[in-house]
């Protein structure tokens, strides 16, 4: 569904990404991991068409982004960004409702309200509906934006695509798992998710495939079992680690330190 070959990107002569091939299938949850400065966010940003025209074309459903009509694209793909604005002097629900902007002209209709409420329940912010966005904590703001992204893709379109840049920052354990379950369910319906995560164990538990980046290059791109080996991980992160099967779900469990 999403394909791009030989992506390179540099900023002020400083190479950030180098010759990256990527192809994500329908229904796949791809998690991008890697140490700081690996170029994860930049890659996500490029894939989500944020930088405009940039060298090699990126194909989304076999069409380049230039070939898509902007509104249609908004019904097909959404992105959750890492640095959300902290100053939006509106009520929570107004912020979530922005996710429905591609669907109504002047006023939200009943369907938009229902979709917004549904997404807010999904990310557990329904009770904050009429609170001032600016008065929320970091984690709550994060969940409001997640609800906004979810409600943007609440439609009849088949095979949608969502990008998430570190969606779990500031979230407590309960909400981390809730969000990941929501995203997993989203991909089970034939949709695709590309996500940047820091927590390798959560990545191992939820991802279909892992892309491991270091210094702008792909070190490994495969299933969690194949990527999360002690050799690869301790080399990339430059820190010793042990990998054993997770006693609960048998996914690889990475323990850092010796």
């Amino acid at each position: 569904m999403l394909e791009a070959y030989k992506i390179s990107y540099s900023h002020k002569k400083h190479a950030i990404l180098h010759n990256i091939d990527i192809s994500v299938n329908y229904g796949e949850l791809l998690v991008i991991v890697g140490p700081n400065g690996a170029g994860k966010s930049t890659l996500l940003s490029l894939l989500a068409n944020e930088t405009g025209k940039n060298g090699e074309p990126i194909f989304f459903k076999k069409r380049t982004f230039e070939e898509w009509e902007q509104m249609e694209l908004a019904h097909n793909k959404a992105k959750f960004s890492q640095n959300n604005s902290h100053d939006i002097p509106l009520a929570c629900k107004d912020v979530v409702m922005m996710g429905r902007y591609p669907y109504f002209n002047a006023n939200p209709n009943q369907k938009d309200h229902e979709a917004a409420i549904k997404a807010m329940e999904e990310t557990d912010v329904a009770h904050l509906e009429s609170r001032d966005y600016n008065s929320l904590s970091g984690g709550e703001k994060q969940r409001v934006h997640l609800a906004r992204v979810l409600t943007q893709l609440d439609n009849e379109v088949l095979n949608k695509l969502v990008f998430l840049d570190e969606p779990l920052n500031n979230l407590d354990v309960l909400h981390q798992h809730r969000i990941l379950h929501t995203i997993k369910n989203f991909t089970k319906k034939g949709n695709t998710a590309v996500m940047v995560l820091h927590d390798l164990n959560l990545a191992a538990q939820f991802a279909d495939r892992i892309m491991l980046l270091k210094k702008g290059q792909v070190v490994a791109h495969n299933t969690p079992e194949k990527v999360f080996t002690p050799e690869i991980i301790s080399k990339v992160y430059n820190f010793p680690c042990t990998v054993c099967p997770n006693p609960v779900n048998n996914n690889p469990l990475i323990i850092f330190g010796t």
Binding site: S45, A48, E50, Q70, M71, L73, A74, H75, K77, A78, K79, S81, N83, N84, S85, D87, I88, P89, L90, A91, D94, V95, M98, G99, Y101, P102, A106, N107, D132, Q152
Partner: protein, 344 residues
């Protein structure tokens, strides 16, 4: 919300009409007849029931002036609201970031140097030359301020405001020089730009203003959703299918047009674009869906009230209207500064 919005707009317009009628009767000259209906039916029927002087004061002095106050107030308030949305800051108003100065500088240049290059310009443009030049001045300053203060879609508020200071200073210096070299009758015109006044209102100016305001509103007034989304950041707005670059261009062009024309016809009237959105934000938060259309009505109300006061408070002379708007605007400016001092 939407039903409420139309209710607010309707009651705003009613208030505006009432104020307009009240304002019609305010002033040194008192009409012979006392009811509005009598006055207008007398004028429309064209019989001799209305005296020549009544007719003159009504049709050629008060009515055009009231119309101009409403149009300019509305245009300045909507420009302020749109710019605040684009710069994502409640301090981005045409006067604070130097756009008004740019416009009046070009207007001053046109007045003083106009006589020498007038002959090279086609006849049709003569009349609107001043507003076209003011528009160009406004547009140039706006583009410069935006380029200087904004990178990657993020505006540095301090830089933005200092740009305003710099452009105002430059405008002041050049205008001062122009005053020094200008002839007597040009001097009178120049003083008028700096203080701002609606006394020069005529129907022709109102017609030009009305066309510009209407055309701008067709494009701008429904941009509430887009401006809301831009609070998320420009990239995220784009993910919501909002054509950010296109909308920014429209805002730059149309607010320059509205501010330029206002300055050309009424000089520098400051703070309207600051006061109106500020009051509306207090009532409706920053929901541009609501405050953008309402600022069109509120701007008219504010400037009409200010102008009526300015021409009645010290009868028979007039207090320059800029003094009144500054009296209201400057404290609000300070309040916004105090509230935002941490985020600047």
């Amino acid at each position: 919300m939407q039903n409420k919005l139309s209710l607010y707009i309707t009651s705003g317009i009613l208030l505006l009409v009432t104020l307009a009628v009240v304002s019609l009767y305010m002033g040194v000259y008192a009409f012979e007849k006392h009811s509005v209906a009598e006055l207008f039916s007398g004028i429309l029927s064209g019989d001799s029931s209305i005296s020549q002087s009544d007719r003159f004061v009504l049709l050629n002095l008060r009515l055009p002036r009231i119309t101009m106050a409403v149009l300019i107030g509305s245009a300045l308030a909507v420009s302020g609201t749109c710019l605040q949305g684009m710069f994502k800051n409640p301090l981005a108003t045409p006067d604070l970031i130097g756009i008004t100065s740019g416009a009046s500088l070009f207007a001053a240049l046109t007045i003083v140097l106009g006589s020498s290059f007038k002959q090279y310009i086609p006849e049709v443009f003569h009349f609107s030359l001043l507003s076209i030049m003011a528009f160009i001045g406004a547009l140039l300053t706006m583009i410069l301020v935006y380029r200087i203060s904004t990178s990657n879609g993020k505006t540095n508020v301090v830089v933005m405001l200092l740009c305003g200071v710099a452009f105002t200073a430059l405008g002041f210096a050049i205008t001062g020089f122009l005053i020094y070299i200008s002839k007597e009758e040009q001097l009178r015109d120049l003083t008028f730009w700096n203080l701002g006044s609606l006394a020069g209102a005529t129907w022709t100016k109102n017609l030009i203003l009305a066309v510009i305001v209407l055309v701008s509103y067709v494009f701008l007034i429904n941009k509430g959703k887009a401006l809301n989304a831009m609070m998320l950041g420009e990239r995220d707005a784009q993910h919501l299918g909002i054509p950010v670059e296109k909308i920014k261009k429209q805002i730059v062009l149309l607010t320059a047009l509205m501010v330029g024309t206002s300055v050309a016809f009424a000089g520098t009237i400051g703070f309207v674009g600051l006061i109106v959105p500020y009051i509306l934000r207090l009532l409706f938060k920053s929901n541009y869906n609501v405050i953008l259309p309402l600022s069109a009505v509120m701007g008219g109300i504010l400037l009409l009230t200010a102008d009526t006061i300015s021409r009645t408070i010290a009868q028979p002379s007039e207090v320059p209207i800029g003094i009144l708007t500054a009296f209201m605007g400057a404290p609000i400016f300070i309040v916004i500064l105090i509230r935002n001092r941490k985020s600047m």
